[in-house]
Amino acid sequence: MQNTSLNRRNFVKAAGAVSLVGTGIFASGCATVGGVAKPKVVVVGAGFGGATAAKYIAMWSEQGIDVTLVERGDNFVSCPMSNLVVGGSSNLGNISVAYGGLDKYGVRRVKGEATGFDATAKTLSLADGTKLPYDRLILSPGIDFMYETLPGLATGEAKNRVLAAWKAGPETVALRNQLTAMKDGGVYAIHIPKAPYRCPPGPYERACQVAWYFQQAKPKSKVLILDANEDVVSKKGLFMKAWNGQYKGLIEYRNNQEIQDVDARTLSLKMSFGEDVKADVLNVLPPMRAGNIAAMNGLNNSNRRWCQVDWLTYESTAVPGVHILGDSLQIAPAMPKSGHMANQHGKVCAAAVVALLTGETVNQTPMVANTCYSFIDDKNVVHVASVHRYDAAQKTMVTVQGAGGLSADANALEGVYANSWAKNIWADMLA
């Protein structure tokens, strides 16, 4: 079995015919695993976790597994690098990627909204009534917001006035437009919820990007960071250096800023302690939880917010046959909710799902690594990196001691590498 697949792989390579894999020429050779129909994997979400898993399952099984990818969006818009759009040094086109690159791997793309699944019948339901059968279901829906905690943001109108812009797309541009429309001398305030939330350094990077824009165009304006956390959650020293250096007087940071509610009409925050805070552009990141498809279907077995998985396979500990990736997970210690992580989850899960469906052994020693680059201005960048290994005794991922770390200082070379990272990770998911 192993030899057969190896030979086929070598043959494909030797023939220099990688592209033939996508044409179905090898379909007859791959169509059956042990004499039965091809196993089916359905993936929800063509973001960092889902697109990666779909591509790698198709690639690593050499199309021996039938992969269907369900996504509601028309094209991928990256959250990483989207703060540069807010700051004005980039645009939405630069951070958008078509899904069509996955076609050559044989991934079947379905545009639609997944609404639920039947774990017994093993089908995924879409809003249009379609039912997709699966042997393994993979969900990487990202986050959704706990708007129930902020009644003032209940209406669509309120959400449009007080943006989150924490899912890249039209809201990213809308926030940019609010900033360009703001008078010089105005205040941009960003509220950060208590951790865990998507992308720990992301809000601080955004504050830097807005300050960079103000420095160019609206020097009398101010950036106010209202952090519900006790302290800067990520890259503290590096961000503080920028706030006390190139952005001195422009950025003010306040910790322990819990809010009760938001008043979208007056653009103000009702603080848990102290007076209301008013801004000219108010950007609120509501508390987050696992994406709806996971949170609404009993997979959120951690605090009713996040999903617990077996770190060897990313299979839910609540519902068998369903795997979960990315931001929706209850993270292991020191594992951030990042695109880089979600991409790595996608590959560990892909390897495990291929193994499970072809009767091979699941890797018992998976590793994942993380890197988050943050832009301090339009060119200079800082990073935080970590490496994580599976600990069999604790049944969780632990950081490899002595590995990882931070940039010494913001620098332009890492600006080049951060752009390179984005291009390579987007291609690793979607090309």
């Binding site: 192993q2 030899n3 190896l6 070598n10 390579k13 220099g16 990688v18 790698y56 690593w60 880089h340 991409n343 790595q344 590959k347 560990v348 390897a351 193994a355 091979e360 052994t361 890797n363 018992q364 020693t365 998976p366 590793m367 994942v368 690594a369 890197t371 990073h383 990196a385 970590s386 490496v387 069999a392 490899v400 002595g402 590995a403 990882g404 770390g405 940039s407 620098n411 070379l413 890492e414 080049v416 590498y417 752009n419 390179s420 990272w421 291009k423 390579n424 990770i425 291609a427 690793d428 090309a431």
Partner: protein, 111 residues
């Protein structure tokens, strides 16, 4: 189960070294016992170095680079002998055995 697994890893490691020391760029005579482990580990480098080590941007490709070259660079990063923005921190996260598996896998990928 556990001992079986570490046996497989040791065998793969030995096979890797045999292949690497002979600078074998053609298909090895016998398949490595645990070929997926190398593939799975190497996939972690793809976020920055491209799928199967083929970069589409400024960070160098690792695909088709002789295994001993990658192994040496990873050692030098780890020991602080090569200037780096990030590889010195990542290289410390992997054992020699893991680096050898990754390097061997990437050496066999098309440039």
């Amino acid at each position: 189960m556990k001992s079986l697994h570490s046996f497989a890893r040791t065998a793969a490691f030995a096979a890797t070294f045999a292949a690497a020391s002979a600078f074998a760029q053609t298909a090895p005579a016998s398949a490595p016992v645990d070929k997926h482990l190398a593939r799975n580990l190497a996939a972690q480098c793809a976020n920055c170095h491209g799928t199967n080590g083929k970069s589409v941007a400024e960070v160098p490709s690792l695909a088709g680079v002789p295994a001993n070259v990658t192994i040496q660079k990873m050692k030098d990063y780890r020991d602080g002998k090569l200037p780096a923005t990030i590889m010195h921190q990542l290289a410390k996260g992997y054992t020699d055995e893991q680096v050898a598996l990754i390097a061997d896998y990437l050496s066999k990928q098309p440039k």
